[in-house]
Amino acid sequence: MNEFIELKDQLRLIPLEHYVFLCITLFCIGMAGVLLRRNMIIVFLSIELMLNSVNLLAVSFSVYHNDPAGQAFVFFNMVVAAAEVAVGLAMLVMIYRNIRTVDINALNRLKW
């Protein structure tokens, strides 16, 4: 720990806004990724990115609020993300077996 600068100084140096805006930017990049790509894997990746940006946000809030709950929350996020990804990838594999593509728009029998 000692290699790092005192946290107090750090806090003074980097305002919360910066974290917030960084997270939001990452979130939006993830969102754009979801919208942009039709490759299921990349869409999943983008969703992971979004979740991660939120995690970072939670941690920074947690630190700034001086409250460990935010970090505990991040654990749950990770859990959920992991479970979701597991389900999603399993579903992806299943669908790939059926239709031989990972294009999310390949399936559009259900409409109107």
């Binding site: 979801v34 919208l35 559009n108 259900l110 109107w112």
Partner: protein, 647 residues
């Protein structure tokens, strides 16, 4: 409830014909056809006797009032089933039951071949009942009930031979045209009620003679101020419009000529003697009210005169003997209205009576001819009947002489009284009235001469089976002929040293008006008119009897515009058809297919269709692509955030 004998009699008078109707209606199956007429005539005859006894009692005991029960009542709106019998109504009752009896009798002979004679007599009885209700009613609504009731019977009897659609159409027309008048009548009554708060003639007359509202059940909502002239004008005009419907005046006369589709006795009873005079009766009944509106009186006078001349002109060129008589009726009724408009109520009523006699006689006489000729009504296919149908010829002649107002026949006195009244107003009116009278002379004589004189234009079969009226038909003819000849005696003017019996009798209801025309003037006027009548008579005799002129076909009249108009009845029916009936039919189509189906229902279904359309459009947003859905979701999130920022 306890009724005095007079009241009981008064109740029995309408009840007996009604009873006769029910007997026919309920037990008609078991009545022998030949017997049916006698039963029906009996009840009417008994009614007549009762009417006569009442008639005799009235001068002594004053008017009778019978309250049977309250028919309808809500606040001040009270309609009693109640009768008032005064001088006016007692004479009318006599007239109706009397002429009614005669025509019933006549019908026994006239209709004896008809399969449905029982139905015929049940209708006739019903008619007499309704007519009596009309005459005896003590209030407007009950009068209206009778008013509509006689219209109903008229409908039934015009369409008596219902297998013929033309007759049915005529019946419908009669009822519908009458309904137009009825609506006006009803509205007039409502207006009257709104301002006076009462519906009985007595209170209304009291109201208008005293100027004080007589409201039996005072209701707060009613206005108690004196009536504005405009209101009275409206009331009287509406009532008059009602009267024009029933009494076949311009503009609602068109049904009457068509009504000749009914059996001839019906034409005689309903469409000449009784029902059509209801309008005149109505105005006589409410003369106090009408007096208050000079404008209405003028309108009545003008309408009457116009109708009279109009009817006369049209009658000039008709070939159907019943049509001629129908237009003659229109014309004569017009004269009566003319008299009413002049304020000559007594003259009008007098003419009403004499007209009832001679017109009934003429119709029955014509019926006798038609009967003899097995339904032939076209005078061009008659001729020379004088020798073969002697009785008919003579009684018919009596009727003709009466109607053309040749002294000393009854028509002379009544028409003279009217002309005198007209002269009092203005010589111009006298002249026009005289003109109308001369038209009568011309077309009646034309009818008479073409029918009875000249060469016979019958076919073989008709010639063979030609027969004069039987006893049942002859008796009424003779009786009516007597009345037509001598009816003038009822009201001999003071000029002939008469005592004006009728006017005196009526004066308890309608006050006598004082004449301010000198006897000399009267003589001159009378002489002039008589000379004119004689002159026209000679002309007519020359043309139709001596020269044996036979009216030609309608289409040959095309060159002569005026005659063509006459023959075509001034095309009033056609005009009405074009102006009212067709537009309404078109409107019906328009409303139904355009407004209703297309717009209103279109709107209703359109909302449904719009929803369906929206549904089909909106569901396309659901296009099945996940990336699109993700977009939508992102945009949705953006959207709610934007809303959040904006709010």
């Amino acid at each position: 409830m306890n009724y005095t004998p007079a009241q009981l009699i008064a109740l029995l008078i309408p009840a007996l014909p009604l009873f006769g109707f029910f007997i026919h209606f309920l037990f008609g199956k078991w009545i022998k056809p030949g017997f049916s007429g006698w039963i029906a005539s009996f009840w009417v005859f008994v009614s007549f006797l009762f009417s006569a006894s009442l008639f005799l009692q009235i001068p002594k005991e004053g008017k009778q009032h019978v309250h049977l029960y309250t028919w309808l009542k809500s606040g001040a709106f009270q309609v009693d089933f109640a009768f008032t019998i005064d001088a006016l109504s007692s004479i009318m009752m006599m007239l109706i039951t009397g002429v009614g009896t005669l025509i019933h009798l006549y019908s026994i002979g006239y209709m004896h071949n008809d399969k449905e004679i029982r139905r015929f007599f049940s209708y006739l009885n019903l008619f007499v009942f309704f007519m009596l209700i009309l005459i005896m009613a003590d209030n407007f609504i009950l009068l209206f009930a009778g008013w509509e009731g006689v219209g109903l019977c008229s409908y039934l009897l015009i369409g008596f031979w219902y297998q013929n659609h033309a007759y049915n159409a005529a019946a419908n027309k009669a009822f519908i045209v009458n309904r137009i008048g009825d609506l006006a009548f009803l509205l007039g009554v409502f207006l009257l009620f709104q301002h006076t708060g009462t519906l009985t003639f007595e209170s209304i007359n009291q109201f208008f003679s005293s100027g004080q509202p007589v409201i039996p059940n005072s209701s707060v909502a009613l206005t108690t101020e004196p009536l504005a002239p405009g209101t009275i004008l409206a009331i009287t005009l509406l009532l008059f419009l009602g009267a024009t419907g029933k009494s076949a005046q311009i503009p609602l006369f068109t049904w009457l000529p068509d009504a000749m589709a009914g059996p001839t006795p019906v034409s005689a009873l309903i469409h000449a003697a009784t029902m059509v005079t209801a309008g005149i009766y109505l105005i006589l009944r409410n003369h106090a009210l009408f007096m208050l509106s000079p404008a209405t009186m003028d309108i009545i006078m003008a309408t009457g005169l116009l109708t009279s001349i109009f009817g006369g002109l049209v009658a000039l060129k008709q070939h159907d003997c019943k049509k001629i008589l129908a237009y003659s009726t229109v014309s004569q009724l017009g004269l009566m209205f003319f008299a009413l408009g002049l304020g000559a109520y007594h003259a009008a009523f007098f003419h009403l009576l004499t007209h009832a006699f001679f017109k009934a006689l003429l119709f029955l006489g014509a019926g006798s001819v038609i009967h003899a000729l097995h339904g032939e009504q076209d005078i061009r296919r008659m001729g020379g009947l004088a020798g073969k149908l002697k009785l008919t010829r003579w009684v018919f002649l009596a009727g003709v002489l009466a109607i053309i107002a040749l002294p000393p026949f009854s028509g002379f006195f009544s028409k003279d009284a009217i002309l005198l009244a007209a002269y009092q107003k203005s010589p111009l009116w006298w002249l026009l009235g005289l003109f109308a009278g001369l038209l009568t002379v011309w077309y009646m004589l034309r009818l008479y001469f073409v029918m009875f004189h000249g060469n016979s234009r019958l076919d073989q079969q008709q010639e063979k089976s030609l027969h004069d009226a039987g006893t049942e038909m002859a008796v009424p003819l003779v009786v009516l002929a007597v009345f037509s000849v001598a009816g003038g005696l009822l009201n001999i003017p003071s000029l002939f040293l008469g005592n004006q019996w009728l006017s005196t009798y009526l004066s308890s209801v309608i006050p006598l008006s004082v004449s301010h025309v000198s006897h000399a003037t009267e003589w001159v006027l009378m002489g002039t008119s008589t000379l004119c009548v004689l002159g026209v008579t000679l002309f007519a005799r020359n043309k139709y009897s001596v020269l044996k002129h036979v009216p030609c076909e309608d289409n040959s009249l095309k060159n002569n515009r005026l005659q063509y108009m006459f023959a075509g009845k001034f095309f009033v029916d056609e005009v009405y058809h074009a102006v009212i009936v067709n537009p309404v039919q078109k409107l019906s189509d328009f409303l139904f297919s355009y407004i209703d189906r297309k717009w209103i229902d279109g709107l209703v279904e359109g909302t449904g269709r719009l929803s369906l359309f929206l549904g089909s459009k909106w569901k396309e947003t659901q296009n099945g692509f996940i990336s699109y859905y993700l977009f939508a979701m992102a945009l949705g999130m953006i959207g709610i955030l934007v809303i959040f920022i904006l709010l």
